[in-house]
């Protein structure tokens, strides 16, 4: 029988600007918190999967697997996962698969990213490396630029406008107000979003997730290990899925869909034995406002062309029918790219356990979903978490 994978403990640093802190230190902090939360000793870890995207740009640091393990106080096989902004989502999935295979009972997963030590131009260049270097970067495509291409085509095919997108940003900022781990614990208005300095049409500054520093970690264990050691691990990762697509946006069949997300989601739903209707709360990869729209459509929560208005209608707000990004999402919580997928697991685990600042809004929730994407969703990982005790 395949072992059920429990989230024994989670941790993350506050996300925000700490340009002087190295990625290794931030991951060490997050891992330390996760071990404490789990009641598991670093000596018990049998494998480490660590997500990081731009260490070569920001810290001239490659070969980060063993570095991350050492930072966490672990001596075990350690591998760095680089899958752009989906790096630590993939790391989580690798950990789940490792335990399910029976090859390990305790795996440390997570990631870290140091970004704000770079100038805006250098950070923009580093992020753009998630695109096709020959045919996109050489044409001047930036990360927000690529999502703008998707947004403008979406408007053309399905309607919607900048104001619809602004409501996504406003909602996610609302959710982050009381989250002490979030980079922006402040409300914003639709007017403020619309009046912000332009980054690339149709995006202003508040349509974009920020440059952030931070680390995240989770201690995953087998059900047998949890029982044997009397761990309080009430949340399990019951489904996981991953898919890839062409790296360049122009090579996709559709510019307005994210088929890798739909494929990863279906895999995760089938794996967990749930449907989109069963999901009570979701953390999705809102690196840009349009990204949340595309995500909630690809995940099957809303029909194609319907996702653009749901934030405006309040359906994905904290008191809506499906709260999305109760942590504040990447938009307000922050987006240290290599840490983001792990942070989604950390925040979702706390929401389902009842010890997140916004848990009360979803006190009956038993099924949570995390959606972590790389590039313009050329990589996507979807994980389903459930309360099992």
């Amino acid at each position: 029988m395949v072992s059920q994978v429990r989230v024994a403990g989670v941790g993350m640093t506050p996300f925000g600007k700490s340009p002087e802190r190295t990625a290794r230190e931030m991951f060490g902090d997050a891992a330390d918190e996760a071990f404490e939360d789990a009641g598991v000793d670093p000596d018990d870890v049998e494998e480490v999967f660590y997500g990081n995207f731009m260490g070569e740009f920001a810290e001239q640091q490659g070969h980060q697997g063993p570095l991350a393990a050492s930072a966490a106080g672990v001596r075990a096989p350690a591998t760095r996962i680089e899958s752009a902004c989906a790096s630590s989502g993939v790391a989580v999935r690798m950990g789940v698969e490792k335990i399910r295979s029976g090859a390990a009972d305790v795996v440390l997963v997570g990631g870290a990213e140091r970004m704000t030590n770079l100038s805006t131009a250098d950070g923009t260049a580093a992020l753009a490396a998630a695109a096709d270097a020959l045919y996109e970067i050489n044409a001047g495509v930036t990360f927000p630029g690529a999502y703008s291409l998707m947004a403008n085509r979406y408007f053309e095919e399905y309607g919607g406008d900048r104001e619809d997108l602004a409501h996504v940003a406003v909602k996610n900022h609302d959710h982050a107000v009381d989250n002490e781990l979030a980079q922006f614990q402040m409300e914003i208005t639709v007017e403020k979003v619309l009046d912000a300095v332009q980054v690339c049409s149709p995006f202003g500054l508040f349509d974009c997730s920020p440059m952030s520093d931070g680390g995240s970690a989770a201690v995953l264990v087998s059900e047998a290990f949890a029982e044997e050691h009397g761990l309080d691990a009430s949340v399990a990762i019951t489904g996981t899925g991953q898919a890839s697509d062409s790296l360049a946006l122009h090579d996709r069949e559709s510019i307005t869909g994210t088929p890798a997300a739909a494929e990863a989601a279906q895999m995760a739903y089938d794996d967990a034995g749930v449907t989109p209707d069963d999901v009570d709360v979701a953390e999705v990869h809102d690196c840009f406002t349009i990204a949340e729209v595309l995500a909630i459509e690809s995940l099957g929560f809303f029909g194609k062309g319907e996702g653009i208005t749901v934030a405006r209608e309040g359906k994905t707000a904290i008191d809506g029918e499906l709260p999305v990004n109760l942590s504040g999402g990447l938009k307000a919580k922050g987006h240290p790219v290599g840490a983001t997928g792990g942070a989604q697991i950390s925040e979702m685990t706390k929401m389902l356990r009842g010890d997140h600042v916004n848990s009360d809004a979803v006190s009956d929730a038993t099924v949570g979903l995390t959606h972590n994407a790389g590039g313009t969703v050329a990589s996507c990982v979807v994980n389903v978490l459930e309360v099992v005790e």
Binding site: T120, R153, L249
Partner: protein
């Protein structure tokens, strides 16, 4: 983009050379899908046997954006317009230059060309409205 020491990117630089020579091409798989070089197999079907075909003379802009904040290699080019255009079975990304962005839009017919960036002087694929 060639590296600083002048080393070419095979496939990509060949494609730009062909545009400059007035003889642009794309790679077509037996299923009819179009791709840009270098490409050995069709990513959708897995087929080999891709063959060079002449690029249609006219393309259509599918989407575009004006970029105000760029990386270091385009800082002197901002603001600039990036677009995805479809030329028959193949799509590609390029810049729309020398025109007011308000004067072009989705559905605009374009021809392909090659220009040089302001910032680095590197070659860039451009779409000229017709």
């Amino acid at each position: 983009m060639s590296d600083d020491d002048g080393v070419r990117d095979a496939g990509y630089d060949d494609f730009l050379d062909a545009i400059e020579d007035g003889d642009p091409f794309f790679l077509q798989s037996p299923s009819g899908n179009g791709w840009l070089p270098p490409q050995i197999r069709d990513p959708e079907t897995g087929e080999g046997g891709l063959e060079e075909q002449p690029l249609p003379d006219t393309g259509e802009i599918l989407t575009m954006t004006t970029v105000y904040v760029s990386g270091p290699t385009f800082v002197d080019d901002t603001p600039y317009v990036v677009a995805i255009a479809e030329f028959g079975p193949v799509r590609m990304t390029g810049q729309v230059r020398g025109v007011d962005p308000d004067d072009v839009g989705i559905g605009q017919a374009v021809e392909i060309g090659v220009d040089r960036t302001e910032t680095t002087g590197e070659r860039v694929i451009v779409f000229d409205p017709i």
